[in-house]
Symmetry: D2
Subunit: 344 residues, 4 copies
């Protein structure tokens, strides 16, 4: 059994980690911390866990996690970097679901996240936890930076096209849409139901923190930096991300893009390439660790359109974190992640 600790268990990624971990056959949840809720039974805050978890939140200040094999940080940005080094030194594997270790360039990180990085020396060691691209490194990692939700959906869609140099990397467009749980469970006016319900909008068009993260990854597939326009949108629903990706084909249309995708992902348990002409819906993957992709070429022109859907809290956060844990701990990658999506 893997002994697991969670730092910051009161948000949506926290409760989603708990939902998945209490059903994981090889995991024992030891500790869940929350500064604000120390002492509160977890099921009082999350009654869906009643009968599955008999713990109270504990104060992070009084936890050393030395008894844990793996610690997940489901905290705001800037928290994991404060204690990651100490945990690693104690032999604990660390998976950060926030952004502290996602970017390799300290300067870029500090510019986008508006704070000084507490342990820039760990950025090199940290492994970007997208298993479909980085599996071998994840298996040997002590510290994994779990990808952002948008970056997961966008990268899995562009990956096969960029790896094969089929598209012009200078003109990539990612029009991405997310449910409100992506904004977290903190009190705020813009994600009140009265504000976000029954309405749709783009946001952060001038610049979103996931843009440098996506670019950093896409750049590794190409010789020169990609040109990516990324526009996120807020959808009046709770879970789910859909990314509609546009790229211009460089070569003739004789190549079968559908086949390319099916081949690239044929051994991936958590990427599912749908039949031609499909339109994946976010509900297809609600609650499960899966990315569904569909490939289109409207009017057989030179623009390829990739549709990519994930559950932002699962393949975009907690599920992918557990997938990474499985890989880091030598378990079969799908352990505890074989549920069926809730539809409708």
């Amino acid at each position: 059994m893997i002994k697991v600790g969670i730092v910051g268990g009161t948000g949506y990624t926290g409760v989603e980690l708990l939902r998945l971990l209490v059903q994981h056959p090889q995991v024992q949840v030891q500790t869940v911390t929350s500064r604000a809720q120390a002492g509160t039974p977890i099921t009082l805050m999350f009654p869906n866990l009643r009968g599955h978890l008999d713990l109270a939140f504990t104060d992070p200040a009084s936890e050393n996690f030395a008894h844990c094999d793996v610690v997940f940080f489901a905290t705001p940005n800037g928290t994991a970097m404060q204690s990651a080094r100490k945990l690693l030194e104690a032999g604990v594997k660390v998976i950060d679901l926030a952004a502290d270790f996602r970017l390799k360039d300290t300067e870029v990180w500090e510019q986008w996240y508006g704070m000084t990085h507490a342990c820039p020396e760990l950025l090199d060691e940290a492994v970007y936890g997208l298993p479909e691209w980085n599996r071998a490194k994840i298996a040997k990692a002590r510290l994994v930076a779990n990808p952002g939700c948008y970056p997961t959906a966008v990268q899995l869609g562009f990956l096969p096209l960029l790896e094969t140099k089929l598209i012009d990397p200078q003109h990539l467009i990612a029009d991405a849409k997310s449910g409100v749980s992506g904004a977290g469970r903190k009190a705020s006016v813009p994600t009140l139901m009265g504000e976000a319900g029954e309405s749709f909008k783009a946001y952060n068009v001038s610049g979103h923190r996931h843009w440098p993260e996506i670019c950093q990854s896409l750049n590794t597939y190409t010789e020169k930096p990609v040109g990516l326009t990324f526009v996120p949108h807020l959808v009046p629903m709770i879970r789910g991300i859909e990314a509609t990706l546009y790229a211009t084909l460089l070569r003739d249309a004789t190549e079968d893009i559908q086949a390319l995708f099916m081949q690239r992902y044929q051994d991936e348990p958590f990427v599912d390439v749908l039949p031609p002409k499909s339109h994946p819906e976010t509900r297809n993957v609600r609650g499960v660790n899966m990315c569904q992709l569909a490939v289109h070429r409207p009017q057989d022109g030179n623009v390829v359109v990739i549709l990519s859907v994930i559950d932002n809290l699962v393949k975009g956060a907690a599920g992918q974190a557990i997938q990474n844990m499985n890989i880091m701990c030598g378990l079969p990658e799908t352990t505890g992640l074989t549920g069926v999506a809730l539809l409708p």
Copy 2:
């Protein structure tokens, strides 16, 4: 392994049965019929099942189900009664998720359902499948009438109070609210999102088919017929039923109603009595076979208010049907029903 057939697998109770059954460790789904969709791969209609079920819908006309141990009817009212006898004679256990066998009185049934009953002689044999009340009979049954969704939520709330004669059975009020999946997956104007979204209404105040079903059960707990006012409402959400139940206490307030409920349901795996002052939310039980109850006495008066929530498609339909199957087949009652609700 229990070999299972499903008649009518294209509706919401059908896909929910499939979602739960493909994860059930003792079940093999053999056959799923659909007149309209015969030949269509099931995953084409329900992409959440991709990777979990490799069957196509078959034509009910060409299926005899003799190879099945259990057949579920997830069909409109009036379908199961056409073939139940034949299946029973072939030694197949039958669980009807529709209403064909819920009422004992043929006349009442025909009045409320507007058709002639095809096999009234089976009404006596059929067992009403509310395990918390009828477990022993279910265990021996060949034919189970799976309760309606509203009746499940309402009965579990009134049961302890009526059994102990604590309340006046002449003045019961059940104000019940359901998500739109309760109306099924057939094309209809009133359940279009443009009609049912962002609005709330009562419906069928003059009479709903679940009223005689609830009354029939409640009557068995009392000496004379209950007086029940039942008002259903449509909530702009997909899954979930909440019933707010009102009754007048007959005896003095010295008795602890909270303790009564906890005692009554202490051994029930699928009824969860929340702590005093709780307000169960339907999302607490989204996707799981659970009824959460809370007990209130506003201003310590003589009115008791019971709050009852279920997922209408699970404890109100497919999950309870599988619970019944487990009991009928001698499996541990919770087999395949131990998932955690999806929150948020």
Copy 3:
């Protein structure tokens, strides 16, 4: 032209007041205050008002409102009572959309609102602004306490039955449901879309501040205090209240309750009694100052069920406040309130 000031214009009742007032032919909005947003153009916060209102929020500390004929308080509870006396002395009419002047009994008010009342001497003078019951007093009032949203829906439904002593006042039940805008536009976890979306729950069953307000009014129609059980619920939608009211008939069923309601409200411009067997939906009144009522007697028994719907922000708040202003200022009562509900 009536010169209007609004104190606290950044919440939902504030923006709704503005939406209605900028279309009111006899009103000129002079001043809208907000401590937090002083200096911000109102349309920056509420872009629906672009082209209709060219004002910025001003600091309440630097406003004396002496140039206004009417001042609306769209503030949290406890604000209006701080400055009402001064405004009245300056000859300004005051309409408080919060609860400061709704209860006549200072002690009861202080118990339910958890603060000391700043001007109990005004409670007597303040007129409860339900025009269908109190029109004559409103016409002469300087200070109007605009009713709460639930109380408006509940009182209009019970009023004809209590006035005629048709029902037992000791056993009234009001099962009420509200969209999330009723909780206001302040940052809070429970009304995040991730919390309140796709779920339904009762809340404050033990006691809601609208309970004493409703009781106070209902008591005036009866000889002894009514016995009311009031349970509010949160609906995953933005606007709308539906109240399902239950009462026991005292006299024989020969009286026509439908006719009673139609007669009682025949001259009321903002109460609409629907035909028999109707089920009003909240969307029928979305955005308009209207209460739709329907009358039912299930199974022709002795329980009468009244369905009452309003838009909580209009007839339940801003619209009713303007209706009161019209009455107080001698305008035709419907001035500026004749819009058509937005359906769908």
Copy 4:
């Protein structure tokens, strides 16, 4: 007073026309037809119109509309073309809210709409009713083809950029999102709330009927045919369209695109260019005849991103139709269209 008839008044564009027309000071609604609902009072189907409209639906077979000045067709595609000629001959102005007269090329129309056109000779005469581009022709028209909802949002966003040849017309991308009311009020499974709620998807990526309509218009602004990729999406909300438009700038970045848009639309009453860095939300224009636009250049690169929002039922259908009627009848263009959007 303009005497108005409506053919097909039971859908969402029908009821929206009625909502706006009963408030229009220069219009009298004479006749509303519906084959299926002939004889039914309109307010029985649309209770939001109670007190505003005292008509019943009439049978279209028995109506000649000769007493009308203007007839709106709020019918499925293929209906208006059956009777347009006869109405025009009778001197009645015709505004078709469906697609019968939107395309100039009969062959293209027949290919996309899958039927033979009943009066191809009228296609030349019909005027495409986008006032911001075509006002002069509309003023003289007898027959107006009211634009589709997506085309309205997309064209108003691209128009200033194409007119000034600022962008490469060969690489236009329109990623558009619509609420479910765009699919109409007919019974269908995909727009059930159980299907479309709490989920998001692209649809018709291979080809949507609005693509040739948009292309036809955009082509008139450029010398050679544009290259447009258009991907529509379904949003779990009722009203609203948001289009995110991407184009590549041809000239240097010194030109001020914001100023270009403000100048182009400065005299347009129904196009509102928001301040720089704005993110229009669909709710800003809920219920009103307005297009809000915002201009972005992420990272000051050569990609321009235009955000365009409308209410699909108003500026995308009924409101624009009335705007066209006002122009055709010589009324001030804003008559009856000056409401304020319902927010929240």
